[in-house]
């Protein structure tokens, strides 16, 4: 049994093997970082032919296409695509609102982040995990898993995610903008959050897009958030901000709320799609295997 399965008991050996066969398929134009398996357009030394160009002084003679010279009596050199690694930014919302629901949203997010990080690291890409809010936890554990590459860092990643503490409150839009300010190197940026931020997250997403990040928004919601079912006289307490609200929830108002919630989620989805952000609604009732091996694969974020 690989050591990773011991670190994440939910992951089976088979699931990890399947993950190791997957690769991210980032949008062309994402700048690379170091060698890797990600093909970029600019000329490189891979075996993947890209184009011809006129020979100029100083070009490597080994790249001259002698067949073309024989036919055309002109020197052309072959240009190949380069294979580079890219940086996978995993922005994981660990605020108190994420530590809610059945199944728990934060647990789901940690497992999903672990799976995505596994795919990235096993393909010799860079991966970094930034938890939001990004302040240090009370136990002094770091909120950031810095950029690493290579399979050897997978146990480290798993340990980081396993021991990740919960807590804090954050305005997601603001912390995304702050992240954009600090990390200017574009990459594939995956946000795992419930987006339950009273002021919205659009501002933060705009800032990230402006830097050239390719954004993927994984919207994690518990089933009871999407369609609450329990009626009665309640004093609702916001688990993140502590706000209170006295409501009488009958069947009619519950249904109204569900409709309203769906409308709110749909507006967020429409906004993401209009900005080219890949949006996934992921109820926590789904299994990680279903999410990774089907939904993300089908939508082209991953490829086998």
């Amino acid at each position: 049994m690989p050591p990773e399965t011991a670190l994440f008991p939910g992951f089976s050996d088979l699931f990890l093997r399947r993950l190791s066969l997957l690769r991210f398929r980032p949008r062309p134009g994402i700048p690379g970082k170091g060698a890797g398996e990600h093909l970029v357009r600019k000329g490189g030394a891979s075996v993947e032919f890209s184009d011809f160009r006129t020979y100029t002084h100083g070009d490597d003679f080994r790249l001259v296409d002698w067949n073309s010279y024989a036919r055309l009596d002109r020197l052309f050199v072959k240009v190949f695509r380069d294979e580079e690694g890219f940086v996978l930014h995993l922005l994981l919302d660990r605020s108190r609102s994420m530590d809610w629901g059945q199944p728990n949203k934060l647990l789901f997010a940690r497992r999903l982040a672990a799976a995505l990080g596994y795919v990235a690291l096993s393909a010799y890409n860079w991966a970094t995990v930034q938890t939001l809010p990004d302040e240090l936890t009370a136990r002094g554990s770091a909120s950031l898993f810095p950029e690493h590459r290579g399979r050897r860092m997978i146990p480290e990643l798993f340990r980081f995610l396993r021991d990740l503490p919960t807590g804090g409150a954050c305005e997601l839009g603001a912390v995304l903008a702050e992240y954009a300010r600090k990390h200017r190197q574009p990459g594939l940026l995956v946000i795992l959050s419930d987006a339950l931020s009273p002021r919205g997250i659009e501002g933060g997403i705009n800032r990230l897009l402006a830097l050239g990040h390719q954004l993927v928004f994984l919207h994690l919601l518990a089933p009871d958030e999407i369609a609450p079912t329990r009626a009665g006289e309640f004093e609702l307490v916001d688990s993140e901000w502590g706000d209170r609200l006295e409501v009488s929830l009958d069947r009619f108002s519950l249904r109204t709320f569900a409709i309203f919630f769906e409308r709110w989620r749909r507006s967020l989805q429409d906004y993401c799609q209009s900005r080219g952000v890949l949006y996934f609604l992921l109820p926590t009732s789904l299994s990680i295997e279903e999410v990774v091996l089907h939904r993300l694969l089908q939508r082209g974020l991953l490829q086998a």
Partner: protein
């Protein structure tokens, strides 16, 4: 409306408590959620966009609040205001019957009712009404005619004394009141310990308000009795709310008869007790403690039938008297002694040398007697009758006499049946003694063979025994005598001829006609919960119906909403 009732105040307090609880929203279940801002926005949108839903929710809340209000009002029992009158003719009826002496109120019901009547009188006269005062008892009647003088009315109220004789006769009262109502309806206020009821079609010219004075009695029983031939009929009723064992005592002065009667609540029992001997008075009583003890005993005078001493030899005459209910002792003329005990005397064909000191009936006085001297005879006289109650129901058309003596009557005797030459039948007084004279001999007449004979004989003997003549015009108040009383006290006498006499003779003290008493007492139980002087309550029933309708409607509306929006 009068609202200041303890129950009403209590209900009002409970409604306020409910409103307070509603406003406070106590004991809401605390629930942790991932966010509240979306709930808040959804609620705002719900309230702003779904105005119909908001209106209906408010309507349901309104109905529920109204339901609570009407429930409280129904429990409180608001009372009809009694004093908005002006310029009307009113009758103030004060029950001064026996049951009003019950001391469940302090000092007793009658005093409380009288005080209330004084208040009412002041209120009514302030509204420029004319008020008359009536007494309600076994013989209800007008005490003071319509007046607008308050001192006079108050004086009449104060002078009205409680009657210890018998309880009320409400039907008679209503009939009297209806007779006094002219044109505009008469407004009647009855202060009694039971609520008079009046159906709208019964007396449309009466507007009745009953003011019930009295508490439900926790221990209430009564006894009633009447004579039924040789037996004594006794009815014992337990109107207490619980079962009781009552001890009945029938005392004839010699050997009291005691009987134990276990009775359930509201149960009555009828007994028939054989009267042994010839007691003149029975005392029937129940021994238990009672808040209204006045009807727990009564005296029943057992009047013996008049004893008639028949001086003569005619057997048919003795038989006729016995069939009319008289106790007859017959002696021959030679055996007559004035000291023989008798109530009435009948002389047939004879007269003593001295007039008896008791009423007597002389048939065919002998010639040469000193008191009814006759000078000759007339054969087959042609008769005509004077109008006399003594001859009512006596068919004289076929009566014939073969011969009649010509008798000179004293001025104190009034001829009742005469011919051109003589008087055949006369009644009057002879030396201060009631006397009836029938001149002809019955052996020379067909009168004993006719049905008119026992009728005539009975009426004659009754008159002699001192009763007023049957069918003579009765006194004004006697018209109020209920047939129920006559039937009850009469003990089976034929109605019409002797009913009233029998009723007077067997007057029962301290007991009402039982059916009426029962009805009153049942009303007492129905009015359980009333305290002191109360107006008759009608509103609670209406409010309860309203409450039920509102509750049902709000339930249906809420259910309709749920079905529509779910």
């Amino acid at each position: 409306m009068i609202w200041v009732q303890p129950l009403f105040l209590l209900s009002l307090a409970s409604i306020l408590a409910l409103i307070f609880i509603y406003l406070r929203h106590p004991r809401r279940m605390r629930k942790s959620v991932s966010q509240v801002f979306l709930y808040l926005r959804a609620r705002r949108e719900l309230l702003t966009r779904f105005t119909r839903w908001r209106f209906l929710r408010s309507l349901i809340l309104l109905f529920q609040a109204l339901t609570l209000v009407f429930l409280g009002l129904a429990a409180a029992g608001p009372q009809t205001n009694l004093y908005p009158l002006a310029g009307r003719r009113c009758a103030l009826v004060l029950d001064n019957s026996l049951s009003m002496m019950a001391q469940d109120l302090t000092p007793d019901r009658f005093q409380v009712a009288r005080e209330k009547a004084r208040q009412l009188a002041g209120e009514l006269l302030r509204g420029n009404n004319q008020v008359s005062l009536w007494a309600l008892n076994s013989k209800p009647g007008l005490v003071l005619d319509f007046t607008d003088e308050l001192p006079e009315l108050l004086q009449a109220i104060d002078n009205l004394a409680p009657s210890f004789l018998s309880p009320t006769s409400a039907d008679d009262l209503l009939a009297l009141l209806a007779a006094r109502a002219t044109g505009e309806a008469l407004v009647v206020y009855v202060l009694s310990d039971f609520a008079l009821e009046l159906t709208p079609r019964q007396y449309p010219n009466l507007e009745l308000h009953s003011l019930v004075v009295g508490e439900p009695l926790p221990n209430y029983a009564l006894v009633g009795c009447a004579r039924e031939g040789e037996s004594l009929w006794v009815k014992v009723a337990n109107f207490s709310p619980a079962a009781r064992t009552l001890h009945l005592v029938v005392d004839d002065g010699l050997a009291p008869l005691q009987r134990e009667l276990p009775l359930e609540a509201m149960e009555t029992v009828d007994l028939s007790i054989l009267v042994v001997g010839t007691p003149s008075l029975l005392r029937v009583s129940i021994q238990e403690e009672d808040l209204q003890p006045w009807d727990n005993f009564l005296f029943l005078p057992l009047t013996a039938p008049p004893r008639v001493l028949l001086v003569g030899t005619s057997r048919y005459l003795a038989g006729a008297l016995e069939s009319a209910g008289f106790h007859v002792v017959q002696v021959g003329p030679e055996d007559y002694r004035p000291e023989i005990p008798a109530d009435l005397l009948v002389f047939e064909g004879t007269l003593p040398s001295e007039l008896p000191t008791k009423p007597f009936f002389v048939i065919h006085p002998p010639p040469g007697n000193a008191f009814f001297p006759w000078t000759g005879t007339v054969t087959r006289p042609l008769l005509w009758a004077e109008t006399s109650p003594l001859l009512d129901y006596v068919d004289l058309a076929r009566v014939a006499f073969w011969e009649a003596p010509i008798i000179k009557l004293s001025p104190t005797m009034r001829p009742l049946l005469r011919s051109a030459q003589t008087t055949v039948l006369a009644a009057g007084q002879q030396q201060g003694i009631r006397t009836i004279l029938l001149g002809p001999s019955l052996t020379l007449s067909n009168l004993p063979l006719l049905p008119a004979f026992p009728v005539f004989l009975a009426q004659a003997m009754r008159w002699l025994s001192g009763d007023p003549l049957p069918n003579q015009p009765l006194e004004e108040e006697a018209l109020l005598l209920s047939p129920l009383v006559a039937d009850y006290a009469g003990g089976g006498d034929p109605p019409g001829l002797y009913g009233r006499q029998a009723a007077d003779g067997l007057r029962l003290f301290g007991v009402a006609p039982l059916e009426q008493q029962e009805a009153n007492l049942i009303r007492h139980t129905e009015l359980e919960g009333l305290g002191g002087v109360n107006e008759q309550r009608t509103a609670p029933r209406d409010l309860t119906i309203l409450f039920l309708m509102l509750a049902l409607f709000s339930f249906l509306l809420e259910e309709l909403l749920r079905r529509r929006y779910d």
